[in-house]
Each structure stands twice: as C-alpha cells, then as structure tokens.
C-alpha cells in the first residue's frame, strides 16, 4: 500500500509546485452591493433582507458606489489597470443559499486586471502577479439540521438566513505562482497575510477572518522537477486562516506527490480543507460539469469609472504596506533580518511612533524587541497590550541620553512601569536608580578597586590595557551599577596613565 502523503522533502525532491490563490474579501460598506440593507455581522436571521437581496420576483439591483470605489482602491493598491468600461455578469447555477439562482459577478470584464504585488519570506522578496480583482455578491448562510454537529453530510434539512446574501465581495485572483518548492507554502501564507494588512490599511474591509470576511481558495498542481509541463490542479476551498493556507498548500503538495509517485493521476476537482485534521478531502464533484452560462447582467448598466475618479482614488491611497516597509528599513538602516524580527514581533507601528518622538531607530528597536518583547512573551500578551506606550520608551531613553540612566537602570525603570509602581520619576526615586555623577565618589571607588586588584594593575602596566575592563567592572559593582561606565573608564584611564 502506498502512503497517502509523501514527506514534504521527498515530494519537493521530485516535483515543483505551481500555485494560484483566489481570495474573497467582504467589503465593509454600510449597505449591500445591490440594495440598501445593512451588512452587520451577527444580526438575528433574516432581519437584513429586502425584495432585492431575497431575490423576490420583480426586484431589481442598483450598484453601491462605495463598493465600486473599494474595488478600484484594491485594484490600484495591487498595481492593477482599472477598466475604462466594464460590466457585471450573471453566473448561473442553482443553490438554496443563492436567492436568484445566479450570482451577480463579473466575467470577462473585471474592474481591475494585470497587477502585481510583492511578499517577503526569509528576507527574499517574491513578486506575485495579479490576474484580476472583480466585484460580486455573497450568498446566504445555511445551518444544517439533523446530522452530526451541523455538518451538511447526513443532515435532514437546512435552514437558510439571507442576511449575508448580497454583501459585496471582491475576488482577487493571482496568476500562477512559481517559487522554489520549499518556499511555496510560506509564500502563499505571506501573500494572504500581506493582503490582510493591505485591506486594513485601505480601510475597505474589517478582514475578520473569524467571521469569514476573508476566504481563500488555493489551487495547487505539481510538475516533475525541471519540467515545464503543467500538472492537473486541484482547488482547495475555504482555507480561512494564514496558518491553514500554509498547511493546506503543504498538504496538497505531499498528497499529490504521493499520488503521482505511485503512478496515479491527480483528479481535477474541488477539495475541502479540514482545519481539525489538517487534510483535504475530495468535494465529490457531479458528473454533469457545471456550465455557468455567463452573460452580461441586463438589469445593470456598465460601470465606466472616469479617469478623474480613478486618479482621485489613487491620490487618496495610503502608502502600500510593502513599499512602506522598504522605505522604513532604508530610513532606519536595519538589516533584512532585523526588519523581519520587527515585523514578526508586531513592533513595526510601535517603533514608528517611538522614532517619531525623537528616539533613534536602534534604541527604539532595542527596547521594543528586547526587554519589552520578553515581558510580553512571559505574560502572553501582545506588545501593544503591555501598558507601555511609545511615550514611555521615549522618556526613558531621553534620560539615558542625558546620562541620568544607563541601560541597566533603564531596564529597572521598565520593570517598575510594568509592575505599576508609578511614573518614571517615582520609580527612579523609589528604587534609587539615579546614576552617580560625582567625580570624587567615583575616584574613591577607583582607588579602592586599584588597591584591591594589584595583579590587574600589573597586567595593564605590562602593556595589556584591555585588562582594565576588570577594574571598570569592579568599580561598577562597588557603585551598585549606578555609575556611567564611560565616565568610569575615562577617570580610570587618567589614573592609570593609558
């Protein structure tokens, strides 16, 4: 018997994966795409419907202008061309949660097309080509009754709530993505994660993945290493978290590799992702292949966004997150590795604000990714939830810069802040953390150190000035850390004549 899946390394040794990603994002418009019903999540069933979104006989759609505007925003942010003229089309198929039994969508005339974006994985930048972004509407939501725990299989009947029907969706489709096999899954994850950040920055969606407002379908196929012949692809539906995207792509690579290496054929099919078991299963497609019979929606007229409108929208776009990162990294002088740590540590926005308050980028990074990240880690909180603000960091660092604190004392100040011991001044006073800047006290301590360590003085005098470090350490210890090490070195050097 052959294994269901190969080890990922074995799979990638024989095959190169090719991916395509389709992401559906629900917009955060106030009203639905074609009617004035609200779009609130979690409202009681069938309280947000009207003749239009219920598909009642006679009702007609009217396009939501903000839905179009959001689609253009997304298109521009993904470096797409914006159609001068495009139409909606009907995608005809029957399903109980679809009120009209056609989905109003776009077919061969999407509003945005031919774009690109970039993602960074392990310091490498990968360019992802965008095929299109188009407008469509969501379906209602079914609850399955009478089977095991709400599953559609084995249910006796279903209950449909049409509150979600007609909520605007943008479908973003990539061209085929070919990256080194070992990076494929991570690139897929990074792409979806990048989209999340982008959509948030654009303000067009709340991107609540837990509420299904961003949903991903992953197409995966394999070709023998080095070959240019594309394999048969599968479409894995509803992969709805960053981690699942990575896992599902990896799973499909290992599953298809097992099928192919056993001499089998990959079936072109829809597959379902199971979050709990981490596998995909066949969607058992019907023998009668769907024929969607697309045609231009006759109840709507073409959308022809004027170039003035498009430019107005372009001018209002926030800086693209990916470009912003590149700019900040350059301004801050961080290495790729440092920048990745900043991003992975969710510290980017905190550092931006801290730097804006006058702190050097290096110092800001040192605190947020050092002492504070450790504290966050220990308490299981996010950096932003620690109760330490960029202003606190800036105030502490200002005292370090003035020589009132050194790093060691500053760490104690943060400890005090985290423990809620009061303001920075109160903590310094209560813990007695001020640096000793009185030269005579330092000279006394230096004298004591020299007297106590004649062997070290001997080494220094015999031409090994580096040995003086031990004396500095002794002085600092004597001063219980409350001395400026640079000042101590300066005075010590004068004393020893080096």
């Amino acid at each position: 018997m052959t294994a269901d899946v190969l080890e990922i390394d074995d799979a990638l040794a024989q095959y190169d994966p090719v991916m395509g990603l389709e992401v559906h994002v629900e917009l955060n418009t106030k009203s639905k795409m074609f009617c004035g019903c609200p779009t609130e999540f979690g409202a009681p069933p069938n309280t947000q419907t009207c003749p239009v979104c219920l598909g009642l006989p006679g009702a007609l759609p009217v396009v939501n202008r903000r839905g179009v505007e959001s689609a253009i925003k997304i298109g521009l942010a993904l470096n797409c061309e914006i159609a001068e003229w495009c139409r909606f089309a009907r995608k005809n198929y029957f399903y109980p949660d679809m009120p009209k039994n056609f989905q109003t969508s776009q077919y061969d005339e999407p509003i945005a097309y031919n774009g690109w974006t970039e993602v960074v994985v392990d310091g490498e930048t990968y360019r992802i080509e965008i095929e299109r972004a188009h407008m469509e509407e969501d379906t209602g939501k079914s609850t399955h009754v009478g089977g095991a725990t709400g599953r559609i299989h084995g249910a006796s009947h279903s209950l449909v709530d049409y509150n979600r029907a007609g909520i605007p969706l943008i479908e973003i489709v990539t061209k085929t993505i070919e990256v080194p096999g070992e990076k494929a899954a991570a690139v897929a994850r990074a792409y979806v994660s990048m989209l999340r950040d982008l959509l948030l920055a654009l303000g067009v969606s709340d991107v609540r993945m837990d509420q299904g407002s961003l949903r991903c379908d992953a197409n995966v196929s394999l070709k023998p290493s080095g070959s240019t012949v594309l394999g048969t692809r599968t479409e894995t539906k509803n992969v709805n978290s960053f981690r699942s995207v990575e896992r599902a792509v990896t799973y499909e690579i290992t599953r298809q590799a097992a099928v192919l290496s056993a001499g089998g054929k990959v079936l072109q099919e829809t597959r379902h992702w199971h979050e709990d078991t981490g596998i995909t299963t066949s969607g058992r497609e019907k023998s009668d292949a769907e024929d969607y019979r697309y045609f231009p929606e006759p109840d709507l007229v073409p959308v022809a966004p004027s170039r003035e409108w498009v430019e107005e929208i372009r001018a209002s776009l926030p800086e693209a997150p990916s470009l912003r990162r590149v700019r900040l990294q350059e301004e801050w002088g961080f290495t790729d590795l440092e920048m990745r740590d900043v991003i992975n540590g969710n510290a980017l926005e905190l550092i931006v604000t801290t730097v804006d308050l006058g702190v050097s980028p290096a110092a800001a990074k040192k605190w947020w990714l050092g002492e504070l990240a450790r504290a966050a880690n220990e308490s299981g909180k996010d950096l932003g939830e620690l109760g330490i603000s960029p202003t606190d960091v800036s105030n502490v660092q200002a005292r370090v810069d003035k020589g009132e604190l050194n790093d060691k004392l500053a760490r104690q100040v943060f400890d005090g802040l985290l423990k809620g011991e009061g303001t920075i001044d109160e903590i310094i006073a209560a813990r007695g953390l001020a640096l000793v800047s009185d030269d005579s006290a330092l000279i006394e301590a230096i004298d004591r150190a020299i007297a106590a360590n004649p062997d070290v003085v001997e080494k220094v005098n015999s031409g090994k000035p580096a040995a003086a470090g031990a004396l500095i350490g002794a002085v600092m210890k004597d001063m219980r850390g409350q001395a400026d090490a640079a000042k101590v070195r300066e005075l010590l050097n004068a004393k020893l004549g080096i």
């Binding site: 009617c35 069938n46 202008r65 399903y95 079914s142 049409y162 073409p302 959308v303």
Partner: protein, 98 residues
C-alpha cells in the same frame, strides 16, 4: 442531422432543473430542434465588425450612495416561505442521501 439531440435536451433539462417526463422529451426535442434551426439564421447575418447591444440605451455608471434603507421585517421576508423554522427558510437536505 438534428441541431439538438434528445440527449442534449435531457442535459439542458438537468442544467435548468426541470424534471421532464419521457413524453415531454419526445415532444420537446423535435420542437427545439426546429426552433434552433430557425433562430440559427441570425448567424447568416454578416456582423463581424458590429458591436453587440446588450442594453437598448447606452446608460453607464448608474450607482446609489452607500446608505441604508428600511428592510422587510422577518415576518414579511418569510411570508411566502413554503416552510420556515427558527426565523429561517427551511429547505430540504442539500446533499443527496448517500
């Protein structure tokens, strides 16, 4: 050769979700064949360089502001439902029994 076969008509009926009887198929297939041949004469019109018309009048950019309007009450929404349960439309099982 007919422009559409009985099997094709049966396939169309499945696509269109109509459970046609055998008698209906027998009757409809030749009728559709006749109609399709007749309407097929549009393909004789030389129109390669002619743009298609989907709307009688060339309107564009008909859009509404993103504003809410009152909804139906759930009672109104469900008033025509053949079956309802828990303020939802009750529909038969979606998958065929295994």
């Amino acid at each position: 050769m007919p422009s559409i076969t009985r099997e094709e008509v049966a396939h169309l009926a499945r696509l269109a979700r109509i459970e046609l009887t055998d008698d209906e198929l027998d009757h409809l297939a030749p009728q559709l064949d006749q109609i399709i041949t007749w309407v097929g004469q549009v393909s004789q019109v030389a129109a390669d360089d002619i743009p298609p018309t989907s709307h009688a009048l060339p309107l564009t950019n008909v859009m509404r502001a993103d504003e809410n309007v009152p909804c139906l009450t759930p009672e109104q929404a469900l008033s025509g439902a053949p079956a309802a349960e828990e303020q939802r439309f009750r529909v038969p099982r979606i998958l065929e029994e295994d």
